[in-house]
Point group: C2
Chain length 384, copies 2
């Protein structure tokens, strides 16, 4: 096990009806900016519940933070936030709204150009407190201090972190997910699944408990996925387990003392930047291909994962590894998500552009496993 | 799954050599009181490492917090703390030192009689910040806001909690456990094991992920116990997993949305109060007996636990349940701990005294399972 530091001060408020606790959780004397996405909260009842709680508070609203939140949109919120002297941010929506709000929280108190903070996260020395009402289980943003911000102009995605960007609290009511389209649920499951394997499918370091906990998330996703995708009407317990898995997959709880990878996310982010494909879809495309290309390097963990999550215990190591990769891919397919670039009619030239970007930036992904641009080229070729 | 709130702001600093980070973690301008147990830190190298880090800080030391920390000892520390205007507490030692220090932290700023706080925890409205260098993995006190305080005079043990009693940080270096006697390691494993089952072995509420995580701790304890107990020289990885399990078993991470029991601990605390038996020993005595007496009520979870932790899958439910209980008891025995009251030559009259106490206080333990004094009598009789 590696040495590690762990810290996560976010308060989770979880369960049916828990938006009713918002009033007690918000600071009484704050100037609040409530941030939203495109408006789905107006059709699923969340907006009414939130507004009911906000009675008597001093707040303004900012609408329109899009999926893969854009710098170009966020600077508008930042400008308003500075002008209105906002002191507290409440993100209502999915991971993109929350990611965008984390950036707003750092940029409002920053005196220089907001873009500086993206280029150099360490310049974000102060943040405005933020919190969330989370309605789309996927990114884990409700209980971590990270965000991903896109820039339209340059087709780039950037990671954004500060030590104080943890939400002060996050309200998670599984019933708010009932109105999500199946495609978004599927993408959320895949995002949660891949967050987990990025912290698990590397190489063994005798971190037994963390391995069991990562496998616990993967097993739960496997066990609930049929009900989750086939339900005529949503089942509360299934939604609860899904929502809890999404939060626990990226809040540091399974990251203690283990090596991490994040290659699938890095390649996936580039795919989204160049093609506009939904984040979860890009992960479903990249991950099986990455496992095939990296089979030798990841063999020990592949066999362990195959046995413990998919009960694959018969055959030579080579056979078991292959079966495990196939099982993973067919799991993504069973959620209704195709796993090859060609399924989405992506132009082959996109591969060259992405490889070029990895080459330019001299990226090496995956600790000890040196996933450089040559390997990225192989992965994308395999994924086509 | 039940509705829940989760909050845990303790920073964990984990791994070999991490006491060297103490200096950066301590507040520069504090008046620090460092609290210790009986002196074992002077023989295992921890004291030198801590003192080295404290150079340049304004600190005093308080020695002698005993196992099952006594109110009578703690009031001495409180008196000194008030007089010296202490503003920060650093507990160096095991769970008892830390538990005692949590009480000191609440009592120093309290103007009335310290005993008031034990009788009514809600009177502890203010606490002095505290932190720990934890050397004995067992109680989980390093990452929660609870403590157990004993009073010699009345042979009683009391739970003590406040919302702000979380350590600000806890340093966990698995090497500090190398000098622990095998008996203490065994008791720590049992304490960790029973903390876990108190949050797991109740009744099913479709909390799949929490079940997997609880089973993950139990599986890990099972997998490391042979090496842990038989090692000629301590193995770092085994100690790391042991230490991490102990912390994760009682920091709320496996408690999200699940019913809890705590009957074994409540009965065990009374046993310690009347007989002086070590906490871990009392749990090893009570738990198998409790499972036998409560077999019907806990049947669903017993079968699940038997299958997932001990691979007991053959036979009738009755047979599997019995086998699971036997396997649990023999696990405790394999650590070198006997599991019957008679093994410790405890007088049978102690049972009556404990039952009387449960009767007087009208205690009912275990949600939905109503473990009242009649049941406690059966359990202790079974445990004899």
């Amino acid at each position: 096990m590696y040495n590690f530091e762990f810290y996560n001060p976010t308060k989770l408020v979880f369960g049916k009806g828990s938006i009713a606790k918002l009033k007690e959780l918000l600071p009484a004397d704050a100037k609040i900016m409530v941030t939203y996405g495109g408006g789905s909260v107006k059709t699923n009842g969340v907006y009414e519940q939130v507004i009911e709680q906000l009675k008597g508070f001093d707040y303004i609203e900012f609408w329109g933070i899009e999926p893969n939140p854009k710098y170009e949109t966020l600077i508008k919120a930042i400008e308003i936030g500075k002008k209105e002297k906002v002191t507290f941010l409440l993100a209502v929506g999915g991971g993109s709204v929350l990611d965008g709000t984390k950036f707003i929280s750092a940029a409002i108190p920053y005196e220089g150009e907001s873009w500086d903070l993206i280029k150099d996260n360490s310049k974000a020395v102060s943040t405005i407190p933020l919190a969330s009402v989370m309605t789309l289980p996927a990114t884990g943003s409700e209980m971590n201090n990270g965000a991903v911000i896109s820039r339209l102009e340059t087709e780039e995605k950037f990671a954004f972190f500060t030590p104080t960007s943890f939400p002060q609290f996050s309200i998670l009511d599984p019933e708010t997910t009932y109105s999500l389209p199946a495609f978004q649920v599927a993408c959320g499951v895949i995002d949660t699944f891949v967050h987990t394997v990025e912290q698990y499918m590397t190489f063994p370091v005798e971190a037994l408990l963390m391995d069991r906990w990562a496998e616990g998330i993967l097993q739960t996703l496997k066990d609930i996925s049929d009900t989750l995708m086939k339900e005529d009407k949503p089942d509360y317990e299934t939604r609860s387990n899904y929502m809890l898995c999404a939060t626990m997959a990226l809040n540091g709880f399974i990251a203690m003392g283990v090596p991490q990878d994040w290659a699938t996310h890095m390649i996936g982010h580039e795919l989204t930047a160049f093609t506009g494909l939904t984040h979860g879809v890009t992960l479903a495309i990249v991950y099986p291909a990455l496992l095939r290309v990296m089979k030798e390097e990841k063999m020990d963990k592949l066999l362990q994962y195959g046995a413990r999550v998919w009960q694959i215990t018969i055959g030579t190591p080579e056979e078991r590894a292959e079966q495990t990769i196939m099982r993973t891919e067919s799991f993504f397919n069973s959620l209704g998500i195709a796993t090859h670039l060609s399924d989405y009619h992506v132009d082959r030239t996109v591969i060259d552009k992405i490889v070029e970007r990895f080459k330019e930036r001299k990226w090496k992904l995956g600790e000890k496993q040196n996933i450089d641009y040559h390997v990225v080229a192989k992965i994308l070729d395999m994924a086509y």
